[in-house]
């Protein structure tokens, strides 16, 4: 097997990892701070894609239309995040896991029905935006330039989140709150609002990732569940709530899948979950995670 073939498959894996990271980072962030396993994160991603489509279709600005739509849709998703956090999640922080899961699963069902009602079941599609229509040559093999855009966006989100969490005062508070929310609260920091904004940030990332997948594939019902299952694999492997863990988890899942497809296509999906099972046995809290207290 020649180098260029392997390299190409490697790049396919990286592209997939970037997409997974975009979605999983929002999931991991909300879990890390809020300690809520947001089952509806995939639904926010789906809704983000549909809203992007509608805005793109309505404004019809040439060239930059998609980018404007992506930006606006992310903002809208932030707004929806406020509503969900304020009216629902806020009441659940003190409750147990089962209730949180049930409540976020309810959001999954609600959003599915909203999408059915608002957009119907047709699969929609946005053409790739300029200048990412074609491909660039990598070692004489074409590589779609839109995949570069997704990888780039993934990197920007990594750097932004890293900067936010590790380099700012807000980040200090976030990390402190994740560690011991009573103590932070006792220091006079309004925890409820902090949580709202974290959830909003998570929703914005979900909306953004939904938006960038729109020109990548198709926008259709069912994309929520499809992504959330793989995202859970990512965060379980990398460690719930850990940013470097999510990055590593995405890379592992993306690359294992890409090479699985090449060498043993029947088992490609199974490989991911074998890795997940192995991690769960050896380090139940994930590679970068820390044990539940």
């Amino acid at each position: 097997m020649s180098f260029d073939v392997l390299f190409n498959q490697f790049m396919s894996g990286i592209a997939r990892a970037a997409l997974l990271f975009l979605v999983a980072s929002g999931l991991s962030l909300t879990f890390g701070v809020l300690r809520v396993l947001n089952f509806a994160h995939g639904s926010l991603y789906m809704l983000g894609a549909f809203i992007t489509y509608t805005i793109w279709k309505t404004i019809l600005i040439p060239v930059v239309g998609f980018y404007v739509a992506t930006f606006l849709a992310s903002l809208v998703m932030g707004g929806i995040g406020i509503i969900i956090e304020f009216f629902l999640l806020r009441r659940l922080y003190a409750r147990g896991w089962p209730e949180q899961l049930l409540a976020t699963y309810a959001i999954v069902l609600i959003i599915t029905d909203i999408v059915k009602w608002g957009w119907g079941g047709e699969f929609l599609s946005i053409p790739r935006p300029i200048p990412f229509k074609g491909a660039v040559s990598l070692f004489g093999f074409p590589f779609p330039s839109y995949n570069f855009f997704v990888i780039l966006l993934g990197l920007i989100v990594v750097i932004f989140l890293w900067w936010l969490v590790y380099k700012t005062r807000l980040g200090d508070i976030i990390r402190a709150a994740a560690h011991d929310r009573e103590m932070v609260s006792a220091l006079g920091i309004p925890i409820p609002w902090l949580f709202t904004w974290i959830f909003v940030l998570g929703s914005i990332i979900a909306g953004l990732s939904g938006a960038v997948t729109a020109p990548f594939g198709s926008i259709a019902l069912g994309m929520d569940i499809e992504i959330i299952v793989e995202c859970f694999a990512v965060v379980v492997i990398g460690g719930m709530g850990s940013l470097p863990g999510t990055l590593l988890g995405s890379l592992i899942v993306g690359l294992v899948y890409a090479f699985g497809i090449m060498f043993k296509p029947e088992l490609a999906l199974a490989f991911i979950f074998m890795v997940m099972a192995a991690v769960l046995i050896i380090r139940p809290w994930g590679i970068f995670g820390r044990p539940e207290r």
């Binding site: 997939r16 047709e122 699969f123 074609g134 198709s218 497809i261």
Partner: protein
């Protein structure tokens, strides 16, 4: 275990069928017959003027949602037309719609409810081959006829044959066989192939039929690689690079719907469609969704979208559909329309809605459908419905891309030969 249950059910039902025959010959029926299946339909007096109830069961979830929606529209147009002209045998048609949520257990529950509580006389549906196979066990047990107008796994008519099931959609075997012949005709020199199919019942059967047919057409054909993306996959990049690394002469696929839209958009920047002859289920909804991104010169197969068979009857239906929906009808609407008319023809020939009589009437019945004439083969209740293939091209008449070089393969040319059906029945235990 499941297969065993199906087998037992079929054996029971068939043995129940045997009873009247034995009685007619003046011999006492064997006492072992369990009175398992309630003979509900037979209890209905044929002369009553109460409506004929059709249970329409579809999968209003996930990728099947859209097909179920437009399918229902085709079904409703047919029912309204028939009711406006006085119904069937002077009885109006009532439609009760149920949703399987694309789940097997819900499908079984809803079909039972349709049969026992709603007491429907006939069933039409569903969309998914998975829910279709599950409900087949139930309506067979309760001796009620079902016609499939979207779900098309061959298992429904062959492996798990039920006398209570009729098919108006080319099954996976017919569809893949016809598509393979078209691909072979277009690229006769191709010897090395890859396939990419959704990893479930439908895709597995398509791939198997392709492999069977291509080896018949090109004896030294070689299948280099089978790709099995999961149904609903969003990211095909790794599949595309893996296929291209094998350098195939042509690629066969049964990807459809949103999956095919995603695949096409992701494969285009690789120059996939310029390098590789490719055939997949490029039907009307996919062509509309892709818009300008639909790859011209690539091959498609489908089941009868309006532009594939522009006969006068079809064009008349196009007008009706456009009035109802403001859009062009796709094959899913066409097939459902045909399913209702097949039922009508069967009931009128039988002059009753009594199940066994309608089955007899439907066997061998020819219908002048939107897709031309087809006949229900008595052997396996498979309609000799046509398969369509073509090459994607622009037509200034339409705001979306359509096909050129369209081939209409009559069902008779691609039906699984009787001997082959019986061969499979020997293995699966169907006696007929």
């Amino acid at each position: 275990m499941k297969r065993f249950a199906v087998l037992i059910t079929i054996v029971f039902v068939l043995s129940l069928l045997v009873v009247p025959l034995v009685m007619a010959q003046g011999k006492p029926a064997p006492a072992k017959e369990p009175a398992k299946a309630p003979a509900k339909a037979a209890a209905k007096p044929a002369l009553s003027k109460e409506p004929i109830k059709i249970g329409a069961i579809y999968d209003f979830a996930g990728p099947c949602y859209m097909y179920s929606e437009t399918g229902m529209l085709g079904l409703r147009i047919a029912v309204e037309e028939i009711n406006a002209k006085g119904g069937i045998l002077g009885r109006k048609i009532d439609v009760v719609v149920r949703d399987t949520e694309a789940k097997v257990d819900v499908a079984v529950r809803e079909v039972k409810d349709l049969l026992l509580r709603e007491k429907v006389n006939f069933l039409i549906g569903p969309c998914s081959s998975g829910t279709g196979l599950a409900m087949q066990v139930v309506h067979t047990e309760y001796k009620t006829i079902r016609i499939s107008a979207i779900a098309n796994t061959e298992a429904q008519t062959v492996d798990k044959f039920s006398p209570y099931f009729f098919q108006v959609v080319p099954n996976t075997y017919m569809e893949a066989t016809a598509a393979t012949r078209y691909l072979n005709k277009k690229v006769p020199a191709a010897k090395k192939f890859c396939t990419i199919n959704p990893d479930y019942e439908f895709g597995r059967r398509q791939a198997a039929a392709f492999e069977e047919e291509i080896k018949r057409l090109v004896p030294d054909a070689e299948i280099l690689y089978h790709a099995w993306p999961k149904f609903g996959e969003r990211d095909y990049t790794a599949f595309i690079t893996a296929i291209m690394a094998k350098k195939p002469d042509a690629v066969h696929s049964s990807l459809f719907g949103g999956d095919l839209v995603a695949f096409t958009k992701q494969a285009a920047p690789y120059g996939f469609f310029e390098k590789t002859p490719f055939i997949a289920l490029y039907d009307l909804p996919v062509l509309i969704a892709l818009g300008p991104d639909a790859p011209e010169g690539t091959f498609g197969f489908a089941r009868g979208d309006f532009f594939q068979d522009p006969n006068p009857k079809m064009m008349e239906f196009v007008d009706k559909f456009k009035k109802a929906r403001g859009a062009y009808p796709d094959a899913w609407a066409v097939q459902n329309y045909d399913a209702v008319y097949l039922l009508k023809a069967g009931i009128e020939k039988a002059k009753t809605i009594e199940t066994e009589a309608v089955i007899k009437a439907l066997e061998g019945l020819s219908l002048d459908s939107l897709r031309g004439n087809f006949t229900i083969r008595p052997l396996d209740h498979m309609g000799s419905v046509p398969c369509y293939q073509g090459t994607i091209a622009t037509d200034p008449k339409y705001p979306f891309k359509v096909w050129k070089d369209i081939t209409r393969v009559p069902g008779e040319q691609v039906l699984r030969p009787e001997a082959s059906v019986r061969e499979i029945w020997k293995k699966t235990g169907v006696t007929r």
